[in-house]
Amino acid sequence: MSGLKKSFYIKARDFNRAGEASISVQNFLKSMNFDPGLIRRIAICGYEGEMNAVMHGGDGALSIEIDSDKLVLEISDDGYGIEDIELAMQAGFSTANDEHREMGFGAGMGLPNMKKNSDQIMVASEKGQGTQVQMIFFLNQGGQID
């Protein structure tokens, strides 16, 4: 298989639907018989990224692209952007507000968790320029079952 791409729309501040894109990806990968552990890592990364776009970012998209040796997960939004990426990547750093905290988010663990669960992560953002988070998952060792 190569170059299969799927993309899902993300709507800023829509907390009722936030996470639907990641769960669609999870269900799709299950239907493709991907390794359950790999699916869990991808779903967690997608969900943390999707919540970030919804909470901190703007409208955007979550996409996956599957090649023979890797799966690329990308979450992009056209929101305010991240001023200091290095700071944002630090465990515990968060600019979440009370509304986010009441929903159980805003521990500042999202980006660190995405880093931990992916094989490679690239965050591109500038103040006022939106945010793109790209994560790579290599499929060579035990990635796909069939």
Binding site: F15, Q26, R40, E48, M51, G104, F105, A107, P112
Partner: protein
Amino acid sequence: MKLSEIVAALDASVLVGEDQMDKEVNKCGASDLMSDILAGLSEGCILLTGLTTVQVIRTAMVAGVGAVVFVRGKKAPQEVIDLAKAQDLPLISSPYSMFVSCGRLHDCNLTGLTGQR
């Protein structure tokens, strides 16, 4: 330990998943922080939480949580129950506080997410 035994230990009511009470769970996570669940070894655990939002259900689905227990007898909104139903995720409501619910399950030999007691 079977979900039915957990329901009994907590004097709880089953909101979703009556047909899944034979499901086995051996570890337990208790948190109102979704990132804690997403970052932890939460696969197949039961999750005790005081939050009753749709995001709890989505977090549970993404993390592979085996069942969710709402503490303090919280009533979940219908949309939360409907989402859990659609995903076959068992939902249980405990009348006890987080502390007492955890204590009761600890007495039943459930471990934390890392296997500690």
